[in-house]
């Protein structure tokens, strides 16, 4: 296979990954890494290329979300302290974990993310009282609804902060946005309205990924010939996916594609297991 054929193949895979990532709401990273590994690429290169595509899709999407007035920049900024420190930790952990171990962790996180995004959301709540810490940090705000701006009170800041450190760690370790975990922290622990959680999470993903991208770059995990088709493919694929999502039934699509995610997760864990066993 020559460079041209290799690049075309990766572009096709990345288009599919970006499309699938946008439709399932999981992000392109969780699909492109297993796909590349399936094609025989070392997971450390796959993670590097994926992380770059994560920055592209997150920044691209955040540009439109930020304008809609859903995302809360103060919540984002505060939690980015946790996610960026987590991302650095994760990026350094990559060196300590054998390739097979990384694949297994990846498979598990993939399953968890798919489960979290498929689960039905918490019902809306309006009775929350203001939390003193959240008030001091000026996190409470409001978001647009059909009935006008709806105020909300943020809860559980310390727990949310801790969970965000974990989400950042996984992002840096696996080269994914870990959006599902970020939403879990904001939606469940901090009781932030779902729409605000998802858009603020997206807003944070780019900064989180940039924090580990520097480490990956210095370690030589970012290969231009691989990152180029992955970034362009995932970016275009996710733009297409977002467009289809607006005109289709997301519930049905999500069910269909969750089967694909399940297969990818099992394949990653199997591959990781055989790699670990092979070394012993």
């Amino acid at each position: 296979m020559n460079v041209l054929a290799f690049t075309s193949l990766i572009v096709l895979g990345a288009l599919a990954a970006g499309f699938l990532g946008a439709l399932t709401g999981l992000g392109g990273g969780v699909v492109i890494v297993p796909l590349l590994v399936l094609m025989g690429v070392d997971i450390k290169y796959a993670i590097g290329a994926s992380l770059v595509s994560v920055i592209a899709t997150s920044s691209g999407a955040a540009a439109s979300y930020v304008k809609e007035g859903y995302s809360n920049i103060r919540i984002g900024m505060l939690l980015e302290i946790a996610t960026t420190f987590g991302a650095l930790t994760g990026a350094y952990l990559v060196e300590l974990i054998p390739t097979g171990g990384l694949s297994i962790v990846f498979g598990l996180v993939l399953l968890l993310s798919a489960y979290l995004s498929l689960r039905s959301r918490r019902r809306h709540f309006e009775t929350e009282k203001a939390d003193p810490l959240a008030v001091r940090l000026r996190l409470d705000s409001s978001y647009p609804t059909p009935e006008g701006r709806q105020p909300y009170h943020v809860q559980g800041v310390p727990l949310g902060f801790a969970l965000m450190y974990g989400a950042g760690c996984l992002s840096g370790l696996l080269g994914i946005g870990s959006g599902a975990l970020k939403v879990l922290a904001m939606d469940q622990a901090m009781r932030i309205p779902f729409k605000v959680s998802t858009t603020t999470s997206n807003f944070m993903i780019g900064v989180t990924a940039a924090a580990s991208a520097g480490v990956y770059l210095h370690r030589g995990q970012i290969v231009p010939g691989l990152a180029m088709p992955v970034m362009l493919g995932v970016l275009i694929g996710s733009l297409l996916g977002a467009r289809v999502l607006m005109s289709a039934q997301p519930r049905i699509l999500r069910r269909v594609f969750s089967v694909v995610i399940l297969v990818l997760a099992i394949q990653m864990m199997y591959k990781g297991w055989t790699a670990l066993m092979g070394k012993v």
Partner: protein, 137 residues
């Protein structure tokens, strides 16, 4: 509401500028990566595909911002792609720098501090290679 309590630009204005900043950064880097990729395919398209089965670190000049800038000036295709990727990594960094400025104008010094903390982590990550001595200048 609380928005009126802060001096300086309104939340909406800050968010608008921030959105544009992100969009411009992504488009610029995608164009750069695409052009570098085109050159790369023209020059090396018929070469055998890179062997990525086992991890070996990329050469020094593709691993540090300074090396990438230097080689891009010589129009090396791989370095041009990396320059585009560097631009992409720099986009969230620019967003955070912009946030520092916005919080300063709003005299929200607690968030100025938080934002500078995030910025330090990002800059540390991007330039840490120099500290450990692995990044070639």
């Amino acid at each position: 509401m609380s928005e009126q309590l802060h001096p300086g630009p309104s939340e909406e204005r800050v968010e608008q500028v921030m959105g544009n900043l992100l969009r411009i950064g992504v488009i610029a880097s995608a164009v750069m990566v695409f052009l570098g990729g085109l050159l790369y395919l023209i020059h090396e398209g018929r070469w055998p595909a890179p062997d990525l089965h086992e991890f070996h670190a990329q050469p020094e000049h593709l691993r540090s911002p300074a090396g990438i800038l230097r080689e891009s000036a010589a129009l090396k295709p791989s370095s041009l792609i990396m320059l585009g990727l560097l631009l992409l990594i720099a986009t969230p960094v620019a967003r955070v720098i912009f946030s520092v400025a916005a919080f300063v104008l709003q005299r929200d010094y607690l968030y100025v501090f938080f934002t500078i903390l995030v910025l330090s982590v990002l800059l540390y990550s991007l330039f840490s290679g120099y500290l450990s001595g692995s990044g070639a200048l």
